[in-house]
């Protein structure tokens, strides 16, 4: 077995991505079709449909409780949809096909004294489902090193995972998720708790994976702005429903007002998008408040 990390992550991208044909011709890696989800007698998602393709960076935008995590759990098969279906590579998702999804959960709590180094966690991304003890092999070690280098975490390799900072852990978790060579990488709010710079670095890393290595990246965030430059597609969640398309198609007053079920305005303030309640965009007070909120 020669260098699994490199083979799966880097080489595939080149062969399945013919130059000059960007976008349309690519296969749908993930599609949701009319997915409804009920949790504890409440309808959390209703009629959610969208599709994403290889090499696309898709942002899933929604405020707290909008259903981002729930949607991901349905894709992963950890929660059942009451109707509708999830398609992976055009076929109904199965336990086996779901194994090829890379996932970075929203909350991963790791105690500082865990006897596990970053490289051990990344290694488990390759073969956690295998039985038996992992024998140290050159190939495995190289694959882990290469992956850590790829996410810029070489210097963290021997640190205990529980002692990593938020941004460092995020990189290691991304490396863990990428080890199996997934064609679909799902990240649940990876930018939460990160400062602006680490956030940007993570976004650039993910954009590189999507555009450079043909991975379909699906990433949740509550703020759309850090993703504007790199996003190919947006899935906007509100009130349990979803609208998807390019940013220009979705982030518009008419589409979002329909989604929210009440009038909203979309403001462009020096390149930053603000979505605020109400259709009266002359409300300067609201605008100021909103700006204050977004600037932290």
């Amino acid at each position: 077995m020669a260098r699994p990390g490199r083979r799966l992550l880097l080489a595939d991208a080149v062969s399945t991505c013919p130059p000059g044909r960007h976008g349309e011709a690519r296969a749908e890696v993930l599609a949701l079709d009319g997915v409804d989800v009920w949790l504890s007698g409440r309808k959390v998602l209703s009629e959610v449909s969208f599709a994403i393709r290889a090499g696309e960076f898709t942002g899933v935008i929604g405020s707290n409780g909008a259903g981002k995590t729930t949607m991901f759990r349905v894709v992963l098969g950890l929660e059942a949809a009451s109707s509708g279906q999830v398609l992976l590579d055009g076929e109904s998702a199965s336990h086996r096909s779901r194994r090829s999804i890379g996932y970075v959960p929203q909350k991963v709590v790791l105690e500082p004294d865990l006897p596990l180094r970053a490289r051990d966690l990344v290694g488990l991304g390759l073969d956690a489902h295998k039985l038996g003890v992992p024998w140290p092999s050159r190939a495995r070690r190289d694959a882990v090193d290469e992956m850590l280098a790829g996410v810029g975490a070489t210097s963290l390799a021997d640190a205990r995972v529980g002692t990593l900072s938020g941004g460092e852990l995020q990189r290691v978790l991304i490396a863990h998720a990428l080890m199996s060579g997934p064609r679909l990488l799902i990240l649940d709010e990876p930018l939460a708790n990160l400062d602006i710079r680490s956030g940007q670095e993570i976004v650039e890393l993910l954009a590189g994976l999507a555009h450079g290595h043909n991975v379909a990246v699906l990433m949740a965030a509550h703020d759309i702005n850090p993703l504007l430059e790199v996003m190919d597609r947006v899935v906007y969640l509100a009130g349990g429903r979803a609208a998807s398309g390019t940013v220009g198609e979705v982030v518009r007053p008419d589409v979002l007002s329909r989604l929210y079920g009440h009038p909203v305005s979309v403001l462009d303030v020096e390149g930053r998008i603000l979505v605020i309640a109400g259709s009266n965009i002359q409300a300067v007070g609201t605008l100021e408040d909103d700006l204050g909120e977004h600037r932290h």
Binding site: G77, L78, P115, L116, R117, A128, L131, L173, H176
Partner: protein, 290 residues
């Protein structure tokens, strides 16, 4: 050397049996203990040890080895704890507490029957505090099978168990059967704790399960090494404990030997404290050089 190894140490059958039993128990406990600490399930482990008292005292009444009582009750209790919901941390603690309370109440009654039926306090002491020297050599095959079974199961499921112990979210995302692994691990803990209850008694069984593991986790950042270190230090504690207990035969006040469980648990504590000084000395050195 002569003074340390009293004449006849290796010639005595109870000593030889004790050494073998101690080794099996220490290795199984070390491996299970590391995972128990990683999963923050020390309380469940402790409870499984304590509930063993019910089984042990019942087994005594039925005139079979307490081992079978420990095992039966530990497997039953782990199943019950799972039914009550072990996967959520709070649910797990509550479930554990409920099962533990009920079992200890019952043990009080059974131990009372034990002591009245034999009119000595020997049963209670053996069950609660154990004695490696009283383990019958007839049990050796069963013990080896159980200990080997637990070790084998951990080795086979090493990676899935490790990841699900570190983070159930990550394990679920990797498509691992988190719930099955949780139950399987609880049953393995039950077996491990029963073995150590046989060696050092139900009350002290957690000391052998958690102590060496906790010491090992301070010294290494690798899970496999932590298991090896925990097994090795548990082994050192039991063997040295047996040796000291054998020597203590000539010690005051009674000239009939101090309890081996005392030595084992005391040595576990010494190793734990020692590992603390070792790791802080090490980090001081690391800070000094960089």
């Amino acid at each position: 050397m002569r003074a340390l190894f009293e004449p006849g140490f290796f010639a005595s059958t109870p000593v030889r049996t004790a050494l073998v039993v101690g080794a099996i128990v220490a290795l199984a406990s070390g491996v299970i203990g590391v995972l128990t600490v990683i999963r923050s399930q020390s309380f469940s482990g402790h409870a499984l040890g304590d509930v063993g008292t019910v089984g042990g005292s019942a087994a005594f009444l039925a005139n079979v080895s307490p081992l079978w009582g420990f095992l039966g009750i530990a497997v039953l209790a782990s199943g019950t704890m799972e039914l009550f919901g072990v996967e959520r941390r709070r649910g797990r603690d509550v479930a554990t507490g409920v099962v533990l309370g009920a079992a200890l109440g019952l043990s009080a009654l059974l131990l009372y029957f034990d002591t009245t039926s034999t009119s000595t306090s020997g049963a209670a002491v053996t069950i609660l505090f154990g004695s490696l020297f009283t383990v019958s050599s007839d049990l050796l095959p069963a013990l080896a099978g159980l200990g080997g079974g637990v070790l084998g199961a951990v080795l086979v499921m090493y990676r899935p168990l490790l990841l699900s112990s570190v983070s159930s979210e990550l394990a679920a995302a990797n498509g691992l059967p988190v719930r099955f692994l949780g139950v399987a691990f609880l049953v393995m803990t039950g077996i491990g704790v029963s073995l150590s209850a046989l060696a050092v008694g139900t009350i002290l069984s957690t000391a052998l399960l958690i102590g060496p593991a906790a010491a090992a986790l301070r010294l290494t950042r690798r899970p496999g090494r932590a298991m090896l270190a925990a097994g090795a230090s548990g082994l050192a504690a039991t063997w040295l404990g047996i040796l000291l207990a054998y020597d203590s035969f000539y010690w005051p006040p009674a000239r009939k030997g101090w309890p081996v469980s005392f030595f084992v648990v005391a040595l576990v504590l010494v190793f734990y404290v020692g590992s603390g000084s070792l790791s802080s000395a090490r980090s001081r050195r690391a800070r000094g050089t960089t």
